[in-house]
C-alpha cells in the first residue's frame, strides 16, 4: 500500500492568513515527499520537498512539516496571497523514480 491521502478536497482562506494543506500516508520507509501546485489548464509545478529523515523544510512563504509518528505531512503558506489559489497535490517517492500523487486540495484565497 503506497497511498498518500488528501482528505480535504477544498479549503478557503482569507488573504494574509495562513493556509495549511494536509496529507496522510501509510507504510513509511525511506521516502521523499513533494508538493506540487496546479493552475487550471496548466501542468503541475514543483513547490517544495522533504526527505523522511527531516522534520521541516522551508522555502520563502512555504514550509513543509513531516510528522513521522502520525504519518502526516502538511504544507503551510504564510501569508496567503491571491495567486496561491490553485489545486495542491502531495506526492511521495519511494526511491524508484516514480511518484504517487494524492487526489489534490483546491485552495481558494479570499481577498
Amino acid at each position: 500500500d503506497q497511498q498518500v491521502k488528501q482528505n480535504s478536497p477544498s479549503l478557503s482562506v482569507q488573504e494574509g492568513r495562513i493556509s495549511i494543506l494536509n496529507c496522510d500516508y501509510t507504510n513509511s520507509m525511506f521516502d521523499y515527499f513533494l508538493w506540487y501546485k496546479k493552475y487550471p489548464a496548466e501542468g503541475p509545478t514543483f513547490l517544495i520537498s522533504i526527505s523522511s529523515i527531516k522534520d521541516k523544510n522551508e522555502d520563502g512563504r512555504f514550509t513543509v512539516f513531516l510528522n513521522k509518528s502520525a504519518k502526516h505531512l502538511s504544507l503551510h503558506i504564510v501569508p496567503s496571497q491571491p495567486g496561491d489559489s490553485a489545486v495542491y497535490f502531495c506526492a511521495r517517492n519511494f526511491g524508484n523514480e516514480k511518484l504517487t500523487f494524492g487526489t489534490g486540495t483546491r485552495l481558494t484565497i479570499i481577498p
Binding site: 488528501q6 496548466e42 514543483f46 520537498s49 506526492a91 523514480e97 516514480k98 494524492g102
Partner: protein
C-alpha cells in the same frame, strides 16, 4: 529552465479512433512519464520510461501503449479511443542524477482530450 512540451492543448476524437499524444523534453532527462488527471482522482501514472525503448506499466495502463524511440520524445497511444479516456493527459520528465536529490518531475502543460 526545463521545458516539456506536448503536441496539442486540446483534442477531440471519435470513439474507436487511434490517438497519438506526443511529448518532448529538452533537458536530456532519462525518465519520462504519462499521467492522466481526473477530478477527485488526482494524477494517475499510465506508463513510465527510464531509457530509450524501455517502458514500464504504471497504475492504469489498460487501453494505452507508449513509444520511446528517442531520448527526448515519449508518445502515448490510445489504440481505440473510448469515452472513458476523456481526460487531461500530462507528460513529465525527470533525471535520476539531479542534485540536490528531490525526485522532482517537470510537467508539460497538458492535453485535454475529449472522446465523443
Amino acid at each position: 529552465d526545463v521545458k516539456v512540451t506536448q503536441s496539442s492543448r486540446y483534442l477531440v476524437k471519435r470513439t474507436g479512433e487511434k490517438v497519438f499524444l506526443e511529448c518532448v523534453q529538452d533537458m536530456d532527462h532519462e525518465n519520462m512519464f504519462w499521467y492522466r488527471q481526473d477530478p477527485g482522482l488526482g494524477l494517475r501514472l499510465i506508463y513510465f520510461s527510464y531509457d530509450v525503448k524501455m517502458k514500464e506499466k504504471g497504475d492504469i495502463p489498460e487501453g494505452y501503449s507508449v513509444s520511446r524511440e528517442k531520448k527526448e520524445r515519449f508518445s502515448l497511444i490510445l489504440e481505440s479511443a473510448s469515452t472513458n479516456q476523456t481526460s487531461m493527459y500530462l507528460c513529465a520528465s525527470s533525471s535520476p542524477h539531479s542534485l540536490p536529490l528531490s525526485y522532482e518531475q517537470y510537467f508539460g502543460p497538458g492535453t485535454r482530450l475529449t472522446v465523443t
